[in-house]
Assembly symmetry: D2
Homo-oligomer: 249 residues x 4
């Protein structure tokens, strides 16, 4: 969460509020390379700079991630999304997070320990290409540059109706991912992007800020549907198609 | 949560996925006036039509609403936001929801019972102008046309650092609310709007949809800061000001 | 016209192409305080920095400004819009430009002379509040902070059907201007804003730029309709209303 | 030019103002299949429906199209853009317009005659692949689904510094066009899209309309630079790169 006047990304110079810590919120000014020293440990500000808060939130809710859910993530990275997932699934939920780089996994483990959420996360050091142990995930967040190469693993890891999401920066990646999602028979495929525009909060001179974030990535959502459900899925798609006619103009 | 191709609002004709129900998701096509009959009761589709899903989610996360929080809401309406709040605070959290119309409150109660979340909500039939019983709320969502008239009550109900949010459609309301927030010494005031643009998910003809939702309302956020904290608050604002110089260009 | 990758405003550091000069275009890098020395004179780069090119163009076309038109402007400022107007009306057209500050008018005159367009412009040193000589303008571009104070003068200066446009930064100004336009019985009132989003032109990594201009001002358009035409105007408005019903949803 | 409340496209139900006709403007309500009968001829309303006005204007100005210019267009279609080009170049300018379908060319000829601009246009019935007669065009507007297949012809037809523009709906086309523009050594390549958001013009309840046009196509601009100028072009690009560093953040 950040208090920024012109951006939906946390950046150096922003004031950030750290959530998920006990008792109270910490409010800090982000500086590249600086650290936050608390009684719970040390957080590198760099871990927070550049993360699109609004987009992260949007992902969590659109994927139906809430208390008690079982979520799979790949790759872990520095653990930023892992923290958000572990926070949102609550004490009854769980997160399984795959990563190929041992140094990144160690960094993520430390970050999760610092915010007291490590016990909710099962860190696995493995290339997703080798395979996924899980078969009953509620949602899969695939944070790699080539998500289209791992969709059979994602399909294997999700339970029927499970959600898939990937956040990718270029339209070329979106094209490849859409082709792969169709090949793997995912349904309810959606592509969107989110723009957040801030206003200067002056009641007598109210106006948008001069500049805004133009792009935080394309969000691609889909759901796993079992062959036995495909018919129902197709019917739903047909209903949607009919319902949309009047909207498309 | 909805599966919509061209909108971030749930509308007649959209496919909606109902979350928070046990065992499985229900996926339905919304129809004005229609009902969803489940073993848990009946949901009027009209309750879901016209709600900006993405915006609701954005509010929840920006206000730091998560497991265990105590949230105050006014007015209850049909209980749509109440359901989202009760779902997100989990079994350890609580929601207090004020409403002046008895018929609306009854409708909301039924809706919360249908989704099994009524036990987390304390419904109060009272005009907020009369006063608020709470003094330690983590967040206050004020969903009335004239939020600027109730800020002293909101201030009373929030604990220091507590979050305020209001979603209002016109710039005139934003102006009045900003003036009132300053008068009541709220800090970290932010105004923003969210635009979600959907794409036609065709890998070989990838392009945005023809039309999109242009407006779901202005989001106004603020935090209560105690007089004793004002100095710290001012310092933070000065730091932000300094940090923003380079951004404003 | 500018070659900018992330902005629709000309800014220091941008490359600008100067149009309307004989034989060839000059392509320069804008620097605050710098000058362009050509055989036709000297242009202060500051005159070009901060002008929203795309918005200016949009204004010209929406107001029907083309060869042979008679356009009135107030105030002249440094002559940036005056150049665009004089260029667009061609040799058969004319521009009348009001300004209250003699120093600004002198600067504008020099700028128009430098680009060879001064002969198409009638510069008047007068406060518009005193009155307007013209009665048959095709369009009136009112570039002052308080356009709502001069609408009777604008009405007097326009011929029936003539276009009015004002570009103002805050919503508070828009509210005051809309009230004044109704009071003066202007018709076909429109308010809009324009967002231009640029892409990084890499065919294999195509994506929007990271940041964009979030606001170049609100554009308010209207047309003068004579009392005798009011009935027809009202009918048209009713037709529009009917036509719009299906769009508003 | 249109008076529409929620769209930057002319659509059935919109009120349109026809410009470029003598004496006065015609203001009509567009209806699919209807005609406008004037003393100058008949205009099919369908010719106007679906044209993105704001985008068309933006193209004209960004390409430096004004009085006296020589513009090449392919394909002619129903002549909508041809009218805009012929109107803007004035009596001293000229438009050459290529088209492969005789029926479309005949329709365009009639439309240009009706608005009195046919004398400014040289209609050619030929596939651009066969070759282009011109070598000194100021600007080339390429309105075909596969613009990437005709860039050597465009290069041949433009004088040094001449402008190229194409308006294409999908990102796949943009990728192919960018690759072809680089291969043909075009410079100052830009990709952008334009969003126009309208407001309900109520001074006491000012707010954006509920829905807006989400996409009118991607605009791709470029300029022909001669080999002898390439060095200068590269220097300019380097300057731009340097100037942009501070903007990219």
């Amino acid at each position: 969460m950040s208090f920024h006047a012109t951006s939906s990304n946390a950046r150096a110079g922003d004031i950030a509020q750290l959530v998920g810590l006990r008792h109270k919120h910490f409010i800090i000014t982000l500086k590249a390379g600086a650290k936050l020293e608390t009684h719970r440990g040390i957080l590198q500000h760099d871990d927070l700079i550049g993360k699109p808060w609004g987009t992260q939130v949007f992902i969590l809710v659109t994927m139906g991630i809430g208390p008690g859910k079982k979520i799979i993530e790949a790759g872990t990275g520095s653990g930023s999304m892992t923290i958000a997932l572990a926070h949102t699934v609550g004490a009854e939920g769980s997160v399984i997070s795959y990563e190929v780089r041992a140094d990144m996994q160690n960094l993520a483990k430390k970050n999760l320990e610092r915010v007291g959420l490590a016990s909710r996360v099962d860190f696995k050091l493995r290339d997703l290409a080798v395979g996924c142990d899980e078969t009953d995930g509620d949602a899969f967040f695939l944070d790699v540059p080539n998500p289209y190469d791992y969709l059979s693993q994602v399909r294997h890891a999700l339970k029927p109706g499970g959600f898939f999401c990937s956040l990718i920066p270029t339209v070329n990646q979106v094209e490849l991912l859409l082709t792969a999602l169709r090949r793997e028979r995912f349904a309810f495929i959606e592509v969107c992007e989110i723009l957040v525009r801030y206003y200067k909060p002056e009641p007598n001179r109210l106006r948008p800020t001069d500049r805004m974030v133009a792009h935080t990535g394309f969000l691609v959502f889909a759901r796993k549907i079992e062959p036995s459900e495909d018919k129902r899925g197709n019917e739903l798609v047909e209903e949607v198609g009919a319902g949309l006619e009047e909207k498309e103009e």
